[in-house]
């Protein structure tokens, strides 16, 4: 399994990285976004979704409370999951998980809460903040190419 690492110096760089990543993404695809509170997952997700919607101003609300937000994009349905409030893996079936495994593009924040249901071969992006800077992040990618 190959692993690659990117250094992102600012929010703008994180966003540009997300857009470039979105450009390469085609359905079906599930992308797991790991990282602690404030690590940059939602910044990545928002720029990614805006790129696929072709709308730089689109409102991308946090899915923390709704658990999932769905978007219709030219590349198919895009599901933005936030599993922060999940505490047992099976609960994910209540919010359309089986569909997400079969079609469309899925961005999954807090995949740690999937436990044993976490897809083994999914593309994973792990974000970690740089202790020396407010905005700098390191992102490590592994999984399916």
């Amino acid at each position: 399994m190959t692993e690659e690492t990117h250094q992102l110096k600012s929010i703008e760089e994180t966003e540009a990285f997300a857009r470039a990543f979105a450009e390469k993404t085609t359905a079906p695809c599930m992308i797991l976004l790991k990282g602690d509170l404030g690590a940059g997952k939602t910044t990545f997700a928002r720029a990614f979704i805006r790129y696929l919607l072709n709308d730089a101003e689109a409102l991308i609300p946090s899915p923390t409370y709704t658990l999932i937000q769905e978007y219709e994009t030219p590349r198919g349905i895009l599901r933005h999951f936030d599993l922060y409030r999940l505490t047992a893996p099976e609960e994910v079936y209540e919010i359309g998980w089986e569909d997400a495994l079969q079609n469309g593009i899925a961005l999954v924040e807090w995949p740690e809460n999937l436990g044993y249901l976490a897809p083994k071969d999914a593309l994973t992006l792990a974000f970690s903040p740089d202790p020396a800077s407010d905005e700098a992040r390191t992102v490590t990618i592994w999984g399916r190419d």
Binding site: L37, G38, D134
Partner: protein
């Protein structure tokens, strides 16, 4: 006019009977599932749907008994049909439809956000148009209520909701769920406010910008960084709460200007704050002061009606029924239901 209201869109099961015409709350009951969830440390959608199912029948029967009414005495059944967690919404909506069908009563599909906006009108006279700040775990919006069903969104959060920021900062401070009320308690222990703001300065995203949008994710990030340094929890909690309330006040100040420009003829304009975060006393006091300074009448529901409840659904149902807005039994449960779509659907 007796209306039964049913709320199940998130963590609370809320049931109430009101007399809309006389503005009387006849009987009500709210059961928070947070008690059941606290052992798990979060609100769980599946458990939420199941817990609503477990309690809804008994709660409706209890409220009807308290009200000394039978279903045949009701004039309408109102249930939240969105936005919210779909599993929970389905439970309340189907219960409402079943009662409406069995007893041949009008069914009113209520938008949960509209109910928050309208609730203050049950308790006091709030004439349209008025300015609204809707602030909860899932929503942070400034809008103008022009008339029933006619809402214009002026600003919303570009990232996290205000209540979500409270919950996540509470989590960073290792406080239990729900974080908002716990954070407020810890902040109250801060003995020196000026020192807290000096020791833990936090940013106010969007401050002074001439629109009414919000942003809380930068604040959350700043709290995260602050927790990594030596800190006193009461100081950090105080600084966060103070900053959140300043952000809300700054955005509302922009909305006041805009309201004055667009509605110069409204002599005594009204401002309504609603939603779970409106229960925070610091935020409430800050907004009330801002409104007084600017000649706006300030309305906030009593603390017990800031969170989700059945009374607000019954009241929204009454207002819609009185305006002739009744829904069919084919009304859908809608996880997303923007307020601007109310006008088209009525």
């Amino acid at each position: 006019m007796h209306i039964l209201g049913i709320e199940t869109s998130c963590d609370e099961t809320g049931i109430a009977v009101i007399n809309g015409k006389t503005r009387e709350i006849i009987a009500e009951s709210v059961k928070s599932q947070i008690d059941a969830h606290q052992v798990f440390g979060g609100v769980v959608p599946e458990i939420a749907a199941r817990a609503h199912i477990d309690v809804i029948d008994g709660m409706i029967a209890h409220v009807m008994r308290e009200a000394k009414l039978e279903f045949k005495d009701l004039d309408g059944i109102a249930a939240t049909c969105g936005p919210g967690l779909i599993g929970g919404v389905m439970v309340g909506m189907m219960a409402g439809k079943a009662i409406a069908l069995a007893h041949q009563k009008p069914f009113i599909a209520v938008n949960h956000l509209e109910a928050h906006i309208l609730t203050p009108r049950l308790l006091q006279d709030v004439p349209f148009p008025y300015l609204v700040l809707l602030v909860s775990g899932g929503h942070t919006q400034i809008l103008v209520a022009k008339s029933l069903s006619d809402y214009e969104l002026w600003g919303t959060t570009l990232d996290d909701a205000c209540g979500e920021a409270f919950d996540k900062c509470a989590k960073l401070l290792r406080l239990p769920f729900p974080g908002g009320p716990h954070l407020e308690k810890v902040a109250a222990k801060c003995e020196d406010a000026a020192k807290a703001l000096q020791n833990v300065p936090l940013p106010q995203p969007m401050a002074g910008k001439p629109n009414c949008d919000f942003s809380f994710s930068g604040l959350k990030n700043a709290v995260r960084l602050a927790t990594q340094k030596p800190h006193l929890a009461p100081e950090l909690a105080y600084s966060f709460q103070h900053t959140a309330s300043e952000i809300l006040a700054d955005r509302c100040a922009q909305a006041i200007k805009r309201f004055r420009t667009i509605y110069p003829d409204v002599a005594h304009p009204a401002f309504v704050v609603s939603g779970g975060v409106a229960a925070n006393k610091t935020i409430r006091a800050r907004l009330e002061g801002l409104m007084q300074e600017n000649g706006f009448l300030f309305f906030a529901p009593p603390l017990k009606y800031c969170g989700d409840n059945g009374v607000m659904i019954a009241w929204a149902g009454y207002e819609r029924l009185a305006a002739g807005l009744v829904d069919g039994l084919d009304a859908k449960a809608r996880p997303r239901w923007p307020l601007e779509e109310m006008k088209q659907s009525s």
